[in-house]
Assembly symmetry: C2
Homo-oligomer: 216 residues x 2
DNA sequence: ATGCTATGTTGCAGTTACTGCAACAGTTGT
DNA sequence: ACAACTGTTGCAGTAACTGCAACATAGCAT
């Protein structure tokens, strides 16, 4: 009964790029959840989505991208402008700096998002890919942090040396980046459902506070 | 001529596994530094090392592994036993927990190591691979941290709730893992020469102190 | 010396991910 | 009716990787 194929209409209706991409994405996530990402081939996804392999690669650059869904973490420029001028703890503001957004800023179905996250967490290659994405914006993040730290230290009358500023903002950017992975639970098989994510997000400042006292 | 091939002896001498792996590794690093990792094919590496492709894959599971050199980060069990019982700041002891070691614990030529690091840094896919390796031991790291935090909090008469313990050690392990990548400079095109690494290692406690104070 | 076994190398055929190119089909605007 | 645009497809090719079976060399036991 050709289970997956959603033969909607009889007349060969034309699909928008978005629709096709969404179908492929859905198929990819479903199959990954069912068989595990490694056991799923592109051909399987194509069959399920009812497209040719060539079409698949017209929409997604890699097999991973089909699950990650063309969502790239981007810096929210408005939040960034506020952030550099703000004072006080960095963390709350910094967490608002990075948004997960599609190319055109399409808001994503939360249910799909949850399934996607479940598919991602636990698959090291997908986590790594996500890591890569994050690395792309880490430079920008570091720049923003550098400005903020410089302004703040100057205002406080204790300006940082350029070297210290450089190291501290690099370190800070790095930690923030990894905290985003932590929050999403992409690491070492933690849960990635929205509830768990929200919980981690909520507890993060407290936990960071508790942990930092013990680290150094 | 045949530039790369190191025709050592005339009699077809047998190579030990280690020798062959080393030749492949060297060839891979050289070529990656010359052309960039992406532009290097396995066949190129094989030609340079004078082995067949099949032999290449007998020694290394992936192209990336040829450059990363079968070195896996492992937990130093002796250091771990000391660590769980120790008191005071976590960071110094924690940084000693993870060692980079070959399967048989072969100590690596520092010069080769430096070249290797230069080849790795800046290549996102290699950084990601390194990340993956790290993820494998992160679970173990978290367990060790959990024990340490539990013992310490009990000794202090302020035992942590299981949930807090779980979250804090997970967070701590995650931060420590990412700090190791930071130290090695694998992120966003920072330098990976031994001097820069040593400098970051040296300054890390100070910088962490400064940065964490500002985070929350 | 003879044969056994462990170790190491290789060729070959096959799978999977991915790319470039050229063709073709609806859709829309003139 | 025609052109321009958008989206889909087939096909041929490359690159990474795997399994299998064959073969070569070295060390070892008899």
């Amino acid at each position: 009964m050709s289970e997956g194929e959603v033969t909607v209409a009889e007349t060969t209706r034309r699909m928008s790029a978005k629709q096709t991409a969404a179908r492929i994405e859905l198929a990819a996530i479903d199959l990954a959840l069912e068989h595990g990402f490694g056991a799923v081939t592109v051909d399987m996804i194509c069959a399920q989505a009812g497209v040719s392999q060539r079409t698949f690669f017209n929409h997604f650059r890699t097999k991973e991208a089909a699950i990650l869904g063309n969502l790239h973490p981007v810096i929210d420029q408005r939040a960034a402008r506020e952030f550099v001028l703000a004072t006080g703890p960095l963390l709350p503001g910094a967490l608002m700096l990075v948004r997960l957004s599609g190319e055109d800023g399409t808001p994503d179905d939360p249910k799909l998002m949850a399934r996607r996250f479940r598919a991602i967490s636990g698959e090291p290659s997908l986590v790594a890919k996500q890591m890569e994405e994050l690395a792309h914006i880490e430079g920008e993040l570091v720049e923003i942090l550098s400005t903020r730290l410089r302004l703040e230290s100057e205002r406080a009358g204790t300006p940082l040396s350029p070297e210290a500023l450089e190291r501290q903002s690099a370190l800070c950017g790095h930690i923030l980046g990894s905290l985003m992975l932590y929050i999403n639970g992409f690491q070492h098989g933690r849960e990635s459902d929205p509830a768990a994510i929200a919980a981690r997000m909520r507890e993060l400042p407290t936990d960071i506070g508790a942990v930092l006292g013990k680290l150094v």
